[in-house]
């Protein structure tokens, strides 16, 4: 049995029936990575020795009838800004290429306790911001649907590795869309949980007030299973929320009949790829067929949300990288350096005004979510970008459709909803809900995926 595109839920059922073992799955996926990742560069570092030790331990426990949870014996990989004790964590940067952490990030500790099997560390845009970059110690990852294209970012390796069938799930980070963007353009699912739902401890910071860690996987059900393991309160993370973790899988099959969904169409009706609006119309028709009541919602413009988010981020990023920028600016990739340096000229009053504006924009979303159960919009305004060095940086010029829910700190999930006609590349639907309402987001996505098969389509790596 080729486990390449088995979901986490399917692996659980196969492990229960002893039809396949964690060691066999781990070996098969390591072989697949060895055979194909030379074309995709999704991994910075594969850890086969660690993986096989963890897989053997999981296999022993499962055979003894002791199941630790839904990721027990399940292979996964980590974006290389998430610290792993004894395993280099580089941020995909020359600045940290020899950094070996002493401790695991909190979410890694949870994954180890849950018996998951780490296959390696994944490519990222430099420090989860600077990319795509062609001047770093490792090449940028490529999109498995067409390696002339990029897998989005900043969780670039995570998007590529999950879509390529190297791992059934991965952990990325999302400050302005770095989980949801790669999920969108790689044709997989990616969840930015509520701010404070998953600990940031042991993760390289990007923007303290907007950094989120979350899973990428191939179905909403798998996202639910993954989130179950990594969510939870961490007293050492000042942003962590002490809120009980519900059973995310339990709500998946409740259906969406009668749910009220707010469609934010004005964010993608102008300036998007021509296939986005038709794909969204088809997705909304599916949601209506499933019994949801879909009504229009108007929020502030993407330009407003992007300006607010990027001003805050740029100021915080500069504070993080100031010392290195002054000592060794040439060791930064060009894209990261040019995205961080503007923070030196952002004044304190600009930063504070942006933070005050954030409160206004977040309240606007909260008010909308008193009228509807969830907001839906496009997951991306376009398809994957071509892998071309030295393209003009779009970060500030082009509004971003994932940033609004970063500003709100809301749970937001991207799932596949079609392919573009010309390029044959994935398109995506984005679903967001009130803080800590991940279960509602997952329920809507799961219902959609029971009625469609976009998430079951996979690239052919040859």
């Amino acid at each position: 049995m080729d486990p390449a595109f088995l979901t986490i839920a399917e692996l659980n059922r196969l492990y229960d029936r002893r039809d396949v073992s964690p060691v066999a799955v781990t070996r098969a996926l390591l072989d697949r990575i060895a055979a194909h990742d030379g074309k995709l560069d999704s991994f910075i570092r594969v850890t086969p020795e660690t993986a096989l030790v963890e897989a053997e331990a999981a296999e022993r426990e499962l055979l003894a009838g002791r199941r630790r949870g839904p990721l027990h014996g399940v292979p996964y990989a980590l974006k290389d800004i998430i610290e792993t004790a004894g395993i280099p964590t580089t941020g995909h940067s020359k600045l940290c290429q020899d950094h070996v952490p002493q401790e695991d990030a909190d979410l890694v500790r949870r994954l180890k306790e849950g018996g998951a099997v780490l296959l390696g560390k994944l490519a990222t845009w430099e420090f989860a911001l600077g990319g795509p970059s062609f001047d770093l110690p490792w090449p940028p990852a490529r999109n498995p649907w067409n390696r002339d294209y990029l897998p989005g970012g900043s969780s670039s390796g995570a998007g590529a590795a999950v879509a390529a069938g190297f791992v059934p799930g991965a952990v990325g980070t999302d400050t302005g869309g770095s989980i949801r963007g790669p999920a969108a353009v790689c044709g997989i699912c990616g969840l930015k949980p509520t701010y404070g739902r998953v600990s940031r401890r042991g993760v390289f910071p990007n923007t303290f007030t907007m950094d989120h860690c979350g899973p990428l996987a191939r179905s909403a059900e798998d996202i639910a299973l993954f989130l179950q393991v990594i969510a939870g309160f961490d007293p050492a993370d000042p942003g962590s929320e002490d809120v009980p973790v519900p059973d995310y899988r339990a709500a998946l099959n409740q259906g969406i009949a009668g749910m009220r969904l707010g469609l934010v169409a004005h964010w993608y009706e102008e300036g998007a790829h021509p296939d986005v609006a038709p794909a969204m119309a088809a997705a909304v028709a599916v949601l209506r067929d499933l019994g949801a009541v879909v009504e229009p919602v108007v929020l502030s413009s993407l330009r407003d949300y992007t300006d607010c988010k990027t001003t805050i981020s740029t100021a915080e990023l500069y504070a993080i990288h100031e010392a290195d920028l002054k000592r060794r600016p040439q060791d930064f990739g060009r894209v990261l350096r040019n995205r961080v340096l503007p923070g030196a000229l952002i004044r304190a009053e600009d930063y504070i005004q942006a933070l005050r504006w954030r409160t206004v924009l977040a309240r606007e979303q909260a008010l909308a979510l008193k009228r509807v159960d969830a907001l839906v919009t496009a997951g991306s305004l376009g398809v994957a970008d071509r892998a071309v060095p030295d393209e003009p940086d779009p970060l500030v010029r082009v509004p971003n459709i994932t940033m609004p829910f970063s500003v709100g700190g809301l749970p937001a999930l991207n799932i596949p909803c079609g392919f573009s006609r010309q390029e044959g590349l994935p398109l995506s639907l984005q679903i967001a809900a009130a803080p800590m309402a991940e279960a509602a987001v997952l329920r809507i996505a799961h219902a959609f995926q029971q009625a469609t098969d976009w998430h079951r389509r996979h690239p052919d790596l040859g």
Binding site: K326, W357, T359
Partner: protein, 71 residues
């Protein structure tokens, strides 16, 4: 009443160089040139931020003493 600073003229090259110097950045000329190319879009972004929020409007992260003590 105008709610932002977008009416202000873009900073001139000499002004940007002076701001970099005041920030303690002594960059090689090649990197300064790269910065001069990208700064106008950032300056325009910052100037679009509204400036007329209510006096009591709170920033999105306020100090939370309990969280600090807990950690």
């Amino acid at each position: 009443m105008r709610t932002d600073l977008s009416h202000l003229p873009p900073s001139r090259e000499g002004e940007v160089r002076a701001m970099l110097e005041r920030a303690g950045l002594d960059l090689p000329e090649e990197l300064v040139q790269q910065f001069l190319a990208i700064w106008p879009s950032y300056e325009a972004m910052v100037r679009r931020i509204p400036r007329t929020l209510d006096r009591a409007a709170e920033p999105a992260h306020s100090y939370r003493a309990v969280r600090i003590a807990r950690a």
